[in-house]
C-alpha cells in the first residue's frame, strides 16, 4: 500500500473510533483496578453478556435499538455486580492478597464464555443489519468513513463525558475518587464501601456492554469476543493502571497504531505493533503515562 493523505485521514478516523471503543472497556477495567487493585479478567465476560443481551433483545424480542442497548447495559452491569458479590466479595473478606481475586476473575471469564457456548452455541453472529447505520460517508478526496465508526466514536465520547461528570460532580463520584486513593479511609468517612464497590462494578459492566455492542457491530458476536479485552488491558497499562485519563489516552494510541499499521503496512502486523508498543512504553515508563509511582501510593 502506498502513502496517501486520504488513507492517512481515513485511518486516523478509524483508529480514533476503534480507540474510543477500547477506551470504554479500558476505563471500566481501570476503575475496578483503582479501587480493588487487581486486574479483573472477567471484564471481557461482561462485554460478551452485553453483546448477546443486545442481540437477543433485537432479534428474539424485537425491541428497537435504543431499548435493546439499554437492556444490554443493564444486563452487563448486573452481571458485573453479581460477579463481585458471588466471586470476589467472599475472597475480599478473607484475605487482602489480590492475586486470589485475579485468579477468580479468570475463572469467571471462562465460566461466562462457556455458558454462552453451551446455551446459544459458538457460532459467529452479526447484529441485524437494519438496527445500526451501515452507510458510508464520502468526505471528499477519496476519504470514506463508515457511519458505524462515527456512531461508535460519538457514543463512546458521550459515555466517557458522562462518566467524567459522574466522578467529578456527584457525591458518590467523589466517594469513588477518594476510595481509589484509599479505600479504608473512604470507609471512615461513612461511605458504605460494599455499596461503593457494587456501584463501581455496575458502572464498569455498563461501559463494557457499550464496548461489546460496538465491537459486535464492527466485527461480529461470538462467545470469545471478550478476548479483545486484552487490547483494552494493554491500553490501560500503557496509560497507567488505575488512571482513567491514562486509559483513554492509551486506548486512542492503541487504536491509532492498529489502524495506521493496517492502512500502511498490513493488517497482519497490527498485533505485532500493539505488543511492541506495549514493551517499548513499559521500558521507557514502567508505570505508564499517568501511572501512580510508589511514593504517590503511600
Amino acid at each position: 500500500m502506498n502513502f496517501t493523505l486520504s488513507t492517512l485521514i481515513q485511518q486516523i478516523i478509524n483508529g480514533l473510533s476503534l480507540g474510543s471503543v477500547y477506551a470504554l472497556i479500558a476505563v471500566g477495567y481501570s476503575l475496578v483496578y483503582s479501587i480493588l487493585l487487581f486486574s479483573n479478567f472477567a471484564h471481557g465476560g461482561f462485554l460478551v453478556v452485553g453483546g448477546y443481551a443486545c442481540y437477543f433483545l433485537l432479534t428474539q424480542w424485537g425491541f428497537n435499538t435504543a431499548v435493546s442497548m439499554a437492556g444490554a447495559l443493564a444486563a452487563s452491569g448486573l452481571t458485573a455486580v453479581l460477579t463481585e458479590r458471588l466471586a470476589y466479595k467472599p475472597i475480599r473478606e478473607r484475605t487482602s492478597i489480590t492475586l486470589y481475586l485475579l485468579i477468580a476473575s479468570m475463572g469467571v471469564n471462562i465460566v461466562i464464555e462457556n455458558l454462552f457456548v453451551i446455551t446459544v452455541g459458538g457460532r459467529i453472529r452479526a447484529l441485524p443489519q437494519s438496527t445500526f447505520p451501515t452507510g458510508v460517508f464520502e468526505l471528499g478526496g477519496g476519504v470514506t468513513v463508515s457511519a458505524s465508526d462515527i456512531l461508535s466514536l460519538v457514543v463512546a465520547a458521550i459515555f466517557l463525558v458522562l462518566l467524567q461528570l459522574f466522578l467529578t460532580r456527584t457525591r458518590w463520584g467523589l466517594a469513588i475518587r477518594a476510595a481509589a486513593c484509599d479505600l479504608r479511609t473512604a470507609g471512615l468517612m461513612g461511605v458504605n464501601v460494599t455499596f461503593l464497590i457494587g456501584l463501581v462494578f455496575f458502572v464498569a459492566g455498563l461501559l463494557a456492554a457499550v464496548g461489546g455492542i460496538f465491537l459486535s457491530v464492527r466485527y461480529s458476536l461470538y462467545p470469545q469476543l471478550g478476548s479483545i479485552t486484552t487490547k483494552a488491558f494493554i491500553a490501560a497499562v500503557i496509560g497507567g493502571l488505575g488512571s482513567l485519563p491514562g486509559a483513554v489516552l492509551g486506548s486512542l494510541i492503541l487504536g491509532l497504531a492498529e489502524m495506521l499499521t493496517a492502512g500502511f503496512v498490513s493488517s497482519q502486523m497490527r498485533d505485532l505493533v500493539v505488543y511492541s508498543l506495549l514493551v517499548l512504553i513499559l521500558l521507557v515508563r514502567p508505570a505508564g503515562f499517568f501511572g501512580r509511582t510508589a511514593s504517590e501510593k503511600i
Binding site: R171, A178, C181, G187, G190, E296
Partner: protein, 242 residues
C-alpha cells in the same frame, strides 16, 4: 468543657485478635458527654486497634461497644452516622483530591446542605490556613497542615465524638501545641474527644481522664492531672520529659 455525667460511648471488655496475636484482651473504657479522654500506651500497645474496633474497622473477638447505650453494629458507616468520626493514624488525607474535596467527603453522611456551609465556616475558624489552601491538592500540604485537614475533615461529619489516633505523630513541637490548643477549643464547642497517644505528656495535659494501655490490657486509669504526678507513669511514659 468537663463531663456532664452522662455516658456517651462505652466499650466493654473489648477483645481483638490478629490471627494468633491478641492485640486487645478485655479493654473497657467510658466517655462521658463533653469529656476529653486519653488512652496512652507505648508503640504496639493496641491503641490503633482500639480505635479501629470502635469504628467497626476490625472484627471484635469479644466485647460490646455502646453509643448512647445502644450497641453499634460493627458497620463503619453506621458508626459515622451515629456520631463517631476518626482522625486516623498518619492523617490519611486524600492526596490527589483538593482540600475542598477532602472536606466535602468528610461531610458524606450529611444531607443538610445549609448546615454543611456552617461547618465549613466553623472548621475555617479553627484552621484558617485551610481556607487559603482550598483549591490545593492535599498531598502538597505540610505535615502539620495535613493533620489540620484530617481533623477538619472529621469535623465535617459533625461528630458527637471526635476520635484521634496519635495526632502529634511526626509533627514539630510548636505545631503540636497549636493543634492541641484547637482540640481544646473544639471540645469547648461541645464535641467529646477520645484521643490515643504515645505522647503521654501532651495527652494528659489536654484530657480530663486517661487510661493507660499496655499490651492490650488496662494498666491504670484515672484523673489525668493525677496520672501526670504518678511516679510509675512518670518513669514509664514521661521519662524523656516529652
Amino acid at each position: 468543657m468537663a463531663g456532664t455525667g452522662r455516658i456517651l460511648l462505652e466499650a466493654q471488655d473489648i477483645c481483638v485478635n490478629y490471627g494468633a496475636i491478641a492485640a486487645l484482651s478485655g479493654f473497657s473504657l467510658k466517655l462521658m458527654e463533653g469529656e476529653i479522654v486519653a488512652v496512652i500506651g507505648a508503640n504496639g500497645a493496641g491503641k490503633s486497634t482500639f480505635m479501629n474496633a470502635l469504628m467497626g474497622m476490625v472484627k471484635l473477638a469479644g466485647g460490646t461497644i455502646l453509643l448512647d447505650s445502644y450497641p453499634l453494629t460493627g458497620r463503619t458507616w453506621k458508626a459515622v452516622q451515629g456520631g463517631l468520626s476518626l482522625v486516623p493514624e498518619g492523617r490519611r488525607v486524600f492526596a490527589p483530591l483538593t482540600v475542598e474535596e477532602n472536606l466535602r467527603i468528610g461531610a458524606f453522611t450529611r444531607k443538610d446542605a445549609g448546615d454543611i456551609q456552617e461547618d465549613y465556616d466553623w472548621v475555617f475558624s479553627l484552621f484558617p490556613r485551610l481556607k487559603e489552601r482550598l483549591t490545593q491538592y492535599a498531598g502538597t500540604l505540610s505535615g502539620g497542615e495535613q493533620q489540620m485537614l484530617a481533623i477538619a475533615r472529621a469535623l465535617m461529619a459533625r461528630p458527637r465524638v471526635l476520635l484521634l489516633d496519635e495526632p502529634s505523630l511526626g509533627l514539630a513541637p510548636i505545631v503540636i501545641r497549636d493543634i492541641f490548643k484547637e482540640l481544646r477549643r473544639i471540645n469547648e464547642q461541645g464535641v467529646s474527644i477520645l484521643l490515643v497517644e504515645q505522647n503521654a505528656k501532651q495527652a494528659l495535659l489536654l484530657s480530663h481522664r486517661a487510661y493507660v494501655l499496655q499490651t492490650g490490657r488496662l494498666l491504670k486509669e484515672g484523673n489525668s492531672r493525677e496520672l501526670l504526678q504518678d511516679p510509675d507513669i512518670r518513669a514509664a511514659y514521661l521519662g524523656q520529659g516529652a
